[in-house]
């Protein structure tokens, strides 16, 4: 199959899957088989694109013109390849996990859940492969809307409130800031096609104008969860855990930082921004978000909330590293998209498993739980270590490059933020591990054992991936380096 | 000619127009509002017809001995406008009758005060 067909397949397979799932709602086994088959086919399609992209091919697909001069078009470049690979790969694992989670918690409306999930993945693929800003925007909004039913899955007052914040912040920022930014770009550059070196390279904007436009973009892409537009992410934690795991640790939030990286690299161009002092403010915002979110995470007792704020802070690593505008740090940012994904999904899987087995949601309830759920907490430990940045877990890899990039740029303030946040990461993760493994469970604790096997298996796969990633780093590293313009 | 006598028909037109509008706005009785509407429409008839008339002009039928004719077009237009006006008035009256049947009153404030 040619690249064109594969791209079409990557977009259509999950969408078609959603339709089939909706049709198979009466037979749960068929429905879930369809989900897993869809995810497998999607991953295969994305994987088939990889060798070509690694060799420097840039397959593309142009559909009809949505506005005169702006087509709905797709083009795969390394950054999108990496993102698509991570999202589609983890979807398989997540589907297996979902089956265990949704069945043991006897969730209602499971058909809607699986269908929307598939739809969200289709939108994610669209974001990853978009060849211009309008296509990116189209699928970005589709992603927001298709995940809303998942966030409000429980349908109670809490879910409604969370859903309102989720939708309000994401649609508000994207329509209020991102859309004007795109239109301004269109007016200035006369094109919306992503171009290496940046489409605004020759627009001749002053530093202040560039800075303003960059602010519109960075805050307009609410999914990147830069403070103060981060509040949708904790609100989204009312969703069932598989949603938090795949969408709010991988697909949705990564679509956000992915878009930020895309905008900085392909819309502005690293050199344009470095030439004018336009992006100087961004590291401060990102650095502040990293530290502030870590501090909030430190105080959060709800496990998912703690993980959510950890995600907020980790996302800002990506933004911070990109904002340094050094090739090495951009590569690190790209790499972090992948490494954080596998680590964080493991953590969410573990949180969901704990909830399913013991119905515990607070950190303070976890004393001694590692004795009952050794596998789960083992996986949790792997994920936590990865996020702190302790080798051999994957997080170490991207953090290492980030430190290197900061040092190479001479940005010692950034260096300090990275160092400080690593300590904070340790401070909010290690007490959990300590409580789980070393403290005594409270007297009279019911025996509940491990979560269902599908969940444990899924966790093992992602934990394994977290540990294995540094050893097979050539693929993500190669993609990341070619985004940053370094030789692979 | 002075501004008043020379534009006599316009003054009447303006008076009718303003009077009609005033009635529509100030009255709460639905029937009186319709009367205002009719007066407003009448002002239009005058606005069109009056300038079409040439003093000394005849009907526009070509005949020996006549050289100045009145413009027939405004008459045709206003005939249409009158028909439209009658239709509007009839419809308005029909509505008022049915409103009276449904609400028992044709005072606007009383009608709006009633719950559904």
């Amino acid at each position: 199959m040619s690249g064109e067909h594969l791209i079409a397949a990557a977009l259509l397979v999950p969408a078609a899957g959603a339709v089939l799932i909706a049709g198979a709602g009466r037979w749960p086994n068929v429905r879930e088989a369809v989900t897993i088959a869809t995810s497998a086919v999607l991953f295969a399609a994305v994987l088939a694109l990889l060798p070509g992209v690694l060799d420097g091919a840039r397959p593309q697909l142009v559909l009809l013109e949505m506005l005169p001069g702006i087509a709905i078009g797709f083009r795969i470049e390394p950054l999108g390849m990496l993102f698509a690979l991570v999202a589609s790969g983890l979807w398989i694992v997540n589907s297996v996990y979902s089956i265990g989670y949704m069945r043991s918690n006897k969730e209602s409306r499971q058909t809607r859940f699986y269908a929307c999930f598939a739809l969200a993945l289709s939108a994610t693929m669209g974001v990853a492969m978009a060849s211009n800003l309008l296509t990116l925007f189209l699928f970005y909004e589709m992603l927001t809307l298709s995940t809303w039913p998942l966030v409000t899955h429980h349908g109670d007052d809490k879910a409604r409130a969370g859903g309102r914040v989720y939708l309000g912040v994401l649609l508000g920022t994207s329509m209020g800031l991102l859309l004007p930014a795109i239109i301004v770009t269109w007016a200035l550059a006369g094109t919306l096609e992503f171009a290496p070196g940046g489409m605004l390279r020759d627009a001749g904007l002053s530093g202040a104008a560039l800075a303003g436009l960059l602010a519109l973009y960075v805050f307009g892409i609410g999914k990147a969860a830069l403070m103060p537009v981060h509040c949708w992410l904790p609100a989204a934690m009312v969703a069932p855990t598989p949603v938090s795991a795949l969408l709010h640790a991988v697909a949705v939030v990564k679509a956000g930082v992915f878009a930020v990286v895309k905008v900085i690299v392909y819309v502005f161009g690293v050199d344009t921004l470095a030439g004018a002092p336009a992006a100087d403010w961004l590291p401060f915002v990102a650095g502040f978000t990293i530290l502030a979110a870590s501090l909030v995470a430190l105080r959060a007792d709800n496990l998912k909330r703690r993980l959510a704020y950890s995600t907020v802070s980790q996302l800002s690593y990506v933004v911070l590293a990109t904002a340094l505008l050094a090739p090495l740090s951009v590569a690190a940012a790209v790499l972090h998209i992948a490494t954080h994904a596998v680590g964080k999904i493991t953590l969410f899987f573990a949180a969901g498993a704990i909830y399913t087995a013991s119905h515990k949601t607070e950190v303070s309830q976890l004393a001694g739980i590692g004795r009952q759920m050794p596998w789960t907490m083992g996986a949790f430990a792997v994920g936590a270590l990865s996020l702190i940045g302790i080798p051999p877990a994957a997080g170490f890899l991207s953090k290492w490059f980030m430190f290197q990039g900061a040092a190479a740029q001479g940005s010692w303030a950034v260096f300090a933020v990275l160092a400080l946040s690593t300590i904070l990461n340790a401070a909010y993760f290690l007490p959990i591990l300590h409580a789980a493994f070393l403290r005594q469970p409270p007297a009279g604790e019911a025996v509940h054992g491990e979560a269902p096997w599908t969940m444990v298996a899924a966790m093992m796969v992602t934990a394994g991936a977290t540990l294995a990633l540094p050893f097979v780093a050539s693929v993500p590293l190669g993609l990341a380096r070619s985004v940053a313009g370094l030789s692979p | 000619m002075s501004a008043i006598t020379g534009h006599f028909s316009y003054w009447v037109t303006v008076f009718l127009m303003v009077a009609g509008l005033y009635i529509i706005i100030s009255r709460t009785n639905l029937l009186k509002k319709l009367i205002g509407l009719a007066i407003l429409q009448t002002s239009v008839y005058l606005l069109y017809i009056a300038p079409g008339k040439l003093i000394g002009g005849t009907a526009p039928i070509i005949a020996d001995g006549f050289s100045s004719y009145s413009n027939p077009l405004p008459h045709v237009l206003i005939l249409t406008a009158i028909v439209v006006g009658v239709a509007t008035l009839a419809l308005g009256l029909a509505l008022v009758v049915r409103i009276r049947e449904a609400y028992g009153t044709i005072e606007e404030d009383e009608i709006l005060g009633q719950e559904d």
Partner: protein, 494 residues
């Protein structure tokens, strides 16, 4: 036969109305209405394609050449509006059968269909004619028919709504005809194109200014320009569902067309917007409409009224484009005529289905609870059309908003951009109240039973929903024709 298409466009529905009255048969009335609606669509499309290929089409009624006789003239702008009206009609007519059967007593059906045909003829006539007085006649034909249609609503409030609409509409039409009268006195012609030429030579501008004022206020009343919109919410809310759908999609749009015709085709637009404060006036009124009406919609409990208020706001978008007065913004405005027409039509058609199944006299936001279970397709259609109202990319509403923002940026008016997106965000708010009610609130009473709308209604409704998406993705017709029309208006040519 093809050269007579402009006449047939209007005559067909005009002939259908008396035929329906003569036959006095429900089934025949519906069949004739539907057939005529489809035929009108075919004619409109044929005309549009002829205009796209060979430029404007002119037709002399009674073979009296313009400017003496009445000229029917189809150009890029009017063919666009013709397609909009005929398209809406051809979706609403087949849908009407079940909806009307449930909402209007059987012995009045033939009157309703006859009035509907008259209204259609009037709207098409306004659009196609090139004669200022003829516009008035058709305006009144369509309006009178519309008042009757609204008065056929189930609730007694429909009578009051029709009365209020009639009062305001007639004042509007009278003002319009006064304005035309003044122009006629100054130019001695009623043919719009001829009038435009002769106006250039008029020395005394005061009567022309008065004419401008009368026409602006008169048409402003008809199109529900911001402070003149009081009739609209009640009229939309209490009319029969099918009438609301048709009214919302077409009547105000056609009035906007008349305004565009006069502003850009008769008066001198450069004088209008440069020397007179019309730009400021239009932008201020539009902005007020967009913000205030959206907020009212946000707090409204009755769903039909909610979307009626949303219409007032959306008309604000359209007039905003006129006020910004550049090619992008006019393209946005004209595209929005079609896009908003299709979107609102879809919404009210779907609400008609909801009303049919709930059997209730009015549909409140609260009564929508559980709709996602009871009528999944209808509810999903509402979501999509709602998204188009908001202007989410991939739907029709996005396209017009895009052009409006581009237009505002070209004028350097950043605050207008902020208002456009701000109003869209409020729109998210009111649309989402409906969506939340449909999907997240548990149904009242017993467990909901799936009871979808009848297939015929559903097909028409979903057809319009599909159009909402189609015009958001494939824009070669909507934007292409709108851009031609905007060029035509700005080029000074007709």
């Amino acid at each position: 036969m093809l050269e007579h298409l402009p006449a047939l466009q209007v005559v067909l529905p005009l002939v259908a109305a008396p035929l329906i009255v003569l036959a006095r048969h429900r089934g025949f009335a519906w069949l004739a209405t539907t057939a005529v609606s489809y035929l009108c669509l075919v004619i409109a499309i044929l005309l549009a394609s002829r205009v796209m290929e060979g430029g404007a089409v002119s037709y002399a009624i009674g073979n009296w050449p313009p400017p003496w006789g009445i000229e029917y003239r189809v150009d890029a702008l009017s063919s666009f509006v013709l397609v909009l009206v005929a398209l809406t009609a051809s979706f609403v007519a087949p849908y009407a059968h079940r909806s009307i059967a449930a909402e209007v007593p059987a012995e009045r059906h033939y009157i309703l269909y006859a009035m509907y045909c008259l209204c259609l003829a009037g709207l098409l006539g306004i659009t196609i004619t090139g004669d200022a007085f003829n516009v008035f006649v058709f305006l009144e034909i369509s309006s009178l028919a519309m008042y009757v249609l609204i008065a056929l609503g189930k609730r007694r409030k429909a009578l009051v709504a029709a009365y209020q609409y009639m009062l305001m509409g007639t004042v509007g039409a009278t003002f319009y005809v006064i304005g035309v009268g003044l122009l006629y006195l100054m130019t001695g012609t009623l043919n719009l194109a001829d009038m435009a030429e002769r106006l250039r030579a008029v020395e005394d501008v005061r009567p022309v200014l008065a004419a401008l004022a009368f026409i602006t206020v008169g048409i402003g009343l008809k199109l529900a320009l911001f402070p003149l919109h009081q009739w609209l919410p009640n009229a939309y809310a209490y009319a029969p569902s099918m009438v609301t759908a048709f009214l919302a999609a077409t009547a105000t749009k056609v009035s906007v067309y008349v305004l565009l015709r006069f502003y850009f085709g008769v008066f001198d637009p450069s004088a209008l917007f440069e020397r007179l404060p019309m730009r400021e006036v239009f932008i201020a009124l539009s902005v007020a409409a967009m913000l205030s009406a959206s907020l009212v919609a946000f707090y409204e409990q009755d769903v039909k009224r909610l979307f009626a208020w949303s219409s007032v706001a959306q008309i604000g978008y359209i007039t905003l484009g006129i006020g910004l007065d550049n090619q992008a913004s006019l393209t946005g405005s004209i595209t929005h005529l079609l896009n908003h027409g299709v979107t609102k039509g879809a919404i009210f058609v779907l609400l008609g289905a909801v009303a049919l199944r709930s059997g209730a006299i009015s549909v409140s936001v609260a009564s929508l609870s559980g709709l996602g279970r009871r009528m999944p397709l209808t509810a999903f259609g509402l979501v999509i059309a709602g998204l188009s109202l908001v202007g989410i990319p991939g739907t029709a509403g996005f396209i017009s908003k895009w052009y409006l923002i581009v237009g505002a940026l070209e004028r350097g008016m950043w605050w207008v951009v902020a208002v456009i997106v701000g109003a869209s965000i409020i729109a998210v708010g009111y649309v989402w109240r409906v969506v939340e009610a449909a999907y997240l609130h548990p149904a009242q009473g017993a467990t909901p039973v799936r009871h979808e709308a009848p297939a015929g209604m559903l097909a028409a409704a979903l057809g319009m929903v599909i159009l909402c998406v189609y015009f958001g993705i494939e824009t070669s017709f909507s934007v292409g024709a709108a851009r031609d029309a905007a060029l035509l208006l700005l080029g000074g040519a007709r």
